[in-house]
């Protein structure tokens, strides 16, 4: 079974929700929509306080290429546009809509065959679709191969290597036709001849479901971070994305299965990205389940629909346990990046004091990129940013393997995040 070098295999903890079918969550009466929910440029609001909006109406957009517009997830009235807390704990400009059911602002019926690549890209961009695996990179940018680069392979990423999360697994079981439809649309947009759906070996039922539907299905070893773009490309094609490069440099486009479904809906129905699948799970949730949640619903409402928090819940995380971010309040909204709401009990959410490096070298062994986290950690403590750049900290994918195996519990990834931000601001200043 193909795989990559390094990585870890933490307890999967997927059992609580992998059998629970996707359920549509109750329609919220109030949604909070941070203006920027994607990597790249922030959006400007297109509506004013007091405006009536329809479900699916575009409410914010930006002129720049690397951006994705925002749509109203419910019909109603814009009641506020102001700085509100987001899941990362920062105040960001947000639009608040109050209302409920109403007519939708989108309609249509097309098929992939009659659309040109340009039309596919346009409908994906207008639908505000971003990578739903969690990175939220605007999808239409990925579907626009840079001039002179030929894309030959489209990889649909159904690995879902992060513990606890099961939404991609459920989507593959319940909506295989749409995944394949979306995959075809992606292949047509980039002009690729080969489509591969990559699934980890711990999801044999999904493999069975997608096999024999006219596209190749590759089974990969269950290993974190198998779902990382660079790891996947290495495992499936043997090609290596160059340092600082993009998958398009080696002729590959990788899209998450959730993104493929969103693309299918956008291309076929003109439906914008206003809802997404979210796993609500962990030892701190009374009834863990998989929900289809409208963007902008607060964590509190989502968790209430899952029976609420248990008495010993200590920590709520947006995203999985490896790459997620702890939230400081439950009044923050679900955004395009929210694949999971994970609540951990006191016992599971223990904190450790960091110790000193004992030079065991375990981090070197697990780093899937082949970096040297031990040296990077030392340099980070000394704030030697230039030295860290020399040791390629910019190539770190922040998967967290090094922090996970470190016996001294050094907060390696946090150090690297700071270094990356520091180097980036420095670059911006130098310009």
């Amino acid at each position: 079974m193909s795989s990559f070098r390094g990585g870890i295999h933490p307890p999967e903890n997927k059992g609580k929700t992998e059998k629970s079918a996707l359920k549509t969550a109750a329609r919220p009466v109030k949604v909070i929509l941070p203006l920027q929910q994607n990597l790249g440029c922030p959006n400007e609001p297109l509506v004013k306080v007091g405006d009536e909006v329809k479900e699916g109406q575009k409410i914010a957009d930006a002129q720049k290429f690397i951006s994705a517009p925002l749509h109203a997830p419910i019909s109603g009235k814009v009641t506020r546009i102001e700085q509100l807390d987001n899941a990362c704990g920062f105040d960001v400009a947000s639009i608040v809509i109050e209302g409920g059911a109403g007519e939708t602002a989108y309609a249509g019926q097309w098929s992939v065959e009659e659309l040109t690549p340009e039309q596919i890209r346009k409908s994906v961009r207008e639908a505000g679709i971003v990578g739903l695996g969690g990175a939220t990179f605007p999808t239409h940018v990925k579907l626009t191969p840079p001039a002179g680069k030929k894309i030959d392979t489209v990889i649909i990423n159904g690995c879902e290597c992060e513990p606890y999360i099961t939404v991609d697994h459920r989507l593959m079981l319940e909506r295989p036709a749409e995944i394949i439809y979306g995959a075809r649309a992606i292949a047509k947009a980039v002009g690729a001849g080969r489509i591969v759906i990559a699934i980890e070996s711990n999801k044999p039922d999904a493999v069975k479901k997608l096999n024999g539907q006219g596209v190749a299905v590759a089974v990969l070893r269950t290993r974190y971070p198998q779902g990382g773009e660079k790891m996947l490309i290495r495992a499936l094609t043997g090609r290596e994305v160059p340092s600082g490069g993009l998958p398009s440099d080696v002729g590959v486009v990788v899209q998450n299965v959730g993104t493929a479904i969103a693309i299918a809906e956008a291309v076929r129905l003109g439906k914008p990205l206003i809802e997404r699948a979210v796993t609500v799970t962990g030892s701190g949730i009374k009834q863990p389940q998989n929900l289809i949640v409208r963007i902008g619903t607060t964590f509190k409402e989502v968790i209430e629909q899952c029976g609420g928090l248990t008495d010993d819940a200590a920590k709520v995380i947006m995203g999985g346990p490896m790459t997620g971010i702890a939230v400081s309040t439950l009044d923050v909204p679900v955004v395009k990046a929210t694949s999971c709401i994970l609540a951990l009990s006191k016992n599971d959410a223990q904190n450790y004091e960091e110790g000193d490096c004992i030079r065991c070298g375990r981090c070197l062994k697990v780093c899937p990129i082949g970096l040297m986290p031990n040296y990077l950690g030392d340099y980070a403590k000394l704030k030697e940013w230039d030295k860290m750049a020399e040791y390629h900290v910019a190539d770190c994918i922040e998967c967290g393997c090094c922090s996970y195996v470190c016996p001294s519990k050094i907060y390696l990834v946090q150090y690297f995040k700071v270094a990356k931000r520091e180097l980036q601001t420095r670059k911006a200043v130098c310009k």
Binding site: F90, A326, N351, Q414, V418, R421
Partner: protein, 266 residues
């Protein structure tokens, strides 16, 4: 035998010494005497606060006229005067500056919305949920500024940096070390500072901090020459020297206008 070798080696030694002496004279590089004179004066900390790559580079660039004679921030007025004498330019004044902390909330007044367990450094804490603080502008309290100060001018008192105006050389290292930019360089002679950096509205500031500027404009009314509220924060016009700011300190309802400059306390 021994005698021969002593004579031969001795003779060789003389010949090479003579050659070296000639070469040293012939290949000598003319050094600006002012450069070595300036190097003898500057503190030699190689802190880089002047913008040059160390004290030697500073001396060379001063001699070339690229950096002003008052460029050495650590040396201050005294060194500047001596350098001016060397360079033959005199008759100017140097305004001493010191670092000022624009936050007044110590550990007890810093209200929290979450617990932070990560790396104990301001730069790291600032990455996640404002380090758990309600205020997204104020001091995080892990002492990044304290760690970079090479002159022992910063003390952490109850989680808040306290500047010793006599030791501070205004090298500016703490200014760049602070991820929230709450430290700035201000005139030594100016007796007040605004101990808040929050641009939040009055209601939000009230919710976040007991000693934050709530933009009530009382300072603006009390001492109109100096204070002005801009974007929900009191701003001092440092060019207006000689005005008595005492009433503003007394009247500020949240006590966020404090003694500053050489009178800095808390």
């Amino acid at each position: 035998m021994i005698l021969t070798s002593i004579i031969v080696l001795g003779a060789l030694g003389f010949v090479f010494a003579a050659l070296l002496a000639l070469a040293a004279d012939y290949f000598a590089v003319a050094v600006d005497p002012r450069v070595s004179a300036i190097i003898a004066i500057v503190p030699g900390a190689n802190c880089g606060a002047c913008g040059a790559g160390g004290c030697h580079d500073f001396a060379e660039r001063v001699a070339k006229g690229e950096i002003a004679v008052s460029g050495c921030v650590v040396g201050g007025a005294e060194v500047a005067k001596k350098i001016a004498e060397i360079m033959g330019t005199a008759g100017f004044t140097v305004h001493k500056r010191v670092a000022a902390v624009h936050c007044g909330a110590d550990n007890g007044q810093r209200w929290r919305k979450a617990n932070y367990y990560g790396v104990k450094s301001c730069k790291n804490a600032d990455l996640v949920a404002s380090g758990g603080l309600m205020c997204s502008y104020g001091c995080l309290g892990y002492g990044d500024c304290f760690c970079v100060c090479a002159f022992d001018a910063i003390k952490m008192v109850n989680g808040l940096p306290q500047i010793d105006p006599e030791k501070c050389t205004a090298c500016g290292k703490c200014v760049t070390a602070c991820p929230r930019a709450i430290i700035s360089l201000r005139p030594y002679d100016f007796p007040v500072r605004v101990a808040c950096s929050s641009h939040d509205g009055p209601a939000a500031t009230r919710k976040n901090c007991p000693v934050g500027c709530i933009a009530c404009k009382i300072c603006e009314k009390t001492v109109p020459d100096v204070f002005k509220v801009v974007d929900n924060l009191a701003v001092i016009d440092y060019t207006k020297t000689g005005v008595d700011c005492g009433p503003a300190i007394v009247k500020c309802p949240t006590k966020c206008i404090l003694q500053g400059g050489k009178n800095e306390q808390k």
